[in-house]
Symmetry: C2
Subunit: 367 residues, 2 copies
């Protein structure tokens, strides 16, 4: 076995994939399992692709223990697409309560206003999206069509580990969860969820694939103006094959699901996420203020870690040195500035160790 | 150079890709051009992917001689998605005239009814979608928001080689062309087009990528209910990066565009399409009725060739023998039955020669 490794890629998405998955995909590119075709060349209606599709769905259902009364849909359009597709399917033109904890949920609220009466149930905008509003403080309206929560804010690095129990908060609305950037890094309590969605390009792999988990009883609510290709009921009735699905993305996601199972599944990913996050936040907090993550400790994301140098004039030197050290895509989102390290499932602990080593060394040299 | 070849894959889509493209993609899977990342792992905002994206758009613009006043958009949702996205963007809730020449344009008409006052300008449904209604016979309404034409019907195999001149027919509406299944097999007269779209999974490659060419002056017409991620104006303003684009699909499409340029471009593809189509239709017509393509000769598609055995009890034997001979995915669409050979750009003439050899041999054995 080679001791060399690829550079460590901290992109927030599209993001690093397990090297094993990439090797499998490369090896099968011209001929999948003796079929004489690459996966990209297969009819989605043929037995070869149907086998790939069914295995991916089955493995995902197993990994997240998705109950039988939830449909798993493989769709297109990404998180921004879902910001419209969800209210088109679920709002009935009525009331929608949105919890704003960062850029993504703010966008979700804005887009839903095209179709529904949106109210902000809670917001951390006043503190620059660094706090995590406690569910007990949310203003929830009775009779709302749904409550929208982004359970991990990719840009601002605010995460809800446990999902709220809306019923216990006095709400009768289904919870809609945008879990794009931490899906499969922890379990999901499906008894608290009506619908969950995730763009695949963060913690799974290929951009252009969107996963939707929707409870059976919520399929009948679409507005008549909902495009057929994005109507959950239609997509579910056709087993995600109403229109040609993003076949290669489903294949890659399926390889990732198999890799996750070999690694020990979601419980093991959650243990690793704890270890990686503790290591990285520990280094930032222990830097004597040279670096800072501004998120309130209880709300810190285990996946996306934005941080700032005290002396921002060193930013370019920091990024250039990181690149030299084989640490890629650490620049923060343009709306926030600073740095961001995304440490998804496919990032090994060795990558975080290398990053921490570099953080310490850079601080010593410039502190 | 090896003299072996992969089986010939006649799938209607997702469909065969040039072997050179697959080999490049496999070789670059773990490390694109020394970047230390595979293409699937790159941020869409990074300089590496931006270079890939810009090259793909530039090459496509060159290949199809797309004028500067057309935007090229890389979107998601496929042809069925566009059936809603087009009227959401262009109909203004007004009149839309649709030319029905097969299953795809019929679906387009049905979906547009959600948003617009749809009339059928012409239809070949009465003859089982085998004729090609002459533009001079179309019933076009003055003041229509647009006229929809599917210029190549993948399922029924009816093709318009030349696009109609709507102005000469007395219409002031822009022409919308669904050219999914013959894009890049012939030139497009942009002076006759308002908007063209194509799902990439037929004559380009990866499913989950949709190409949209839209004339600058048509960007301002979207209905307020149009989802932002599918609003052409928004997508154009963000250079197809309003939401994360299907990055790997764009990369593969870009490799296909480079391959097309190396082959001699669209003019050469058109010459090859003529040669391949003549060979295949010649064999069917010369079979003494053993095989039959039912489309009126002037409307026969150069890309999708549906055909029937006179004795349909031989269908299973035909398909089994074809598979044995390395000729894959020849079964016709379930709504039509029989057989279908799709002979896109990536299908070499040798594949059609092999198919014709098999057609002749099978007819000799069973005739």
């Amino acid at each position: 076995m080679s001791t060399t490794h690829r550079p460590y890629n901290f992109s927030a998405g599209p993001a690093v994939l397990p090297e094993e998955v990439l090797r499998e995909a490369a090896a099968e590119m011209l001929d999948w399992h003796g079929s004489g075709m690459g996966v990209m060349e297969m009819s989605h209606r043929g037995k070869e692709f149907i086998a790939i599709h069914e295995a991916a769905e089955r493995d995902l259902r197993e990994l997240l223990a998705v109950p039988a009364h939830f449909h798993i849909l493989f769709m297109q359009g990404g998180g921004l697409g879902e910001n419209a597709i969800v209210p088109l399917n679920l709002s009935r033109g009525g009331a929608v309560d949105v919890v704003v904890t960062g850029a993504w949920s703010k966008k979700s609220a804005g887009e839903a206003r095209k179709y529904a009466d949106v109210a902000i149930a809670a917001s951390n905008e006043a503190d620059g999206h660094t706090s995590r509003p406690a569910p007990s403080s949310w203003q929830l309206r009775r009779g709302a069509s749904y409550v929208h929560l982004c359970s991990n804010e990719t840009i601002h690095g605010v995460e809800y580990g446990e999902l709220p129990d809306l019923a216990a908060l006095g709400s009768d609305a289904p919870l809609v969860v945008d879990c794009s950037s931490h899906i499969l890094s922890r379990g999901i309590d499906w008894s608290r969820v009506g619908l969950a969605f995730a763009g695949a390009q963060k913690n799974i792999g290929p951009a252009g694939l969107t996963l939707v988990f929707v409870r059976e009883d919520l399929l009948d609510r679409a507005l008549p103006i909902c495009p057929s290709a994005f109507e959950y009921k239609t997509v579910a009735a056709h087993g995600s094959m109403f229109n040609t699905p993003p076949t290669y993305g489903i294949y890659i996601a399926g390889l990732v699901f198999q890799w996750l199972k070999r690694q020990g599944g979601v419980a093991e990913m959650s243990r690793r996420a704890d270890a990686k996050a503790q290591l990285l936040y520990g280094a930032l907090d222990g830097s004597g203020g040279f670096y800072a993550n501004k998120v309130a400790p209880e709300g810190r994301s285990r996946m996306n870690v934005p941080f700032f140098l005290r002396d921002e004039s060193l930013n370019d030197a920091f990024l250039a040195g990181a690149r030299e050290a084989g640490l890629l895509q650490l620049k923060g989102h343009k709306s926030v500035g600073g740095m961001r390290a995304s440490i998804y499932n496919a990032m090994p602990i060795e990558g975080v160790q290398a990053l921490v080593g570099y953080l310490n060394e850079f601080a010593r040299r410039h502190g």
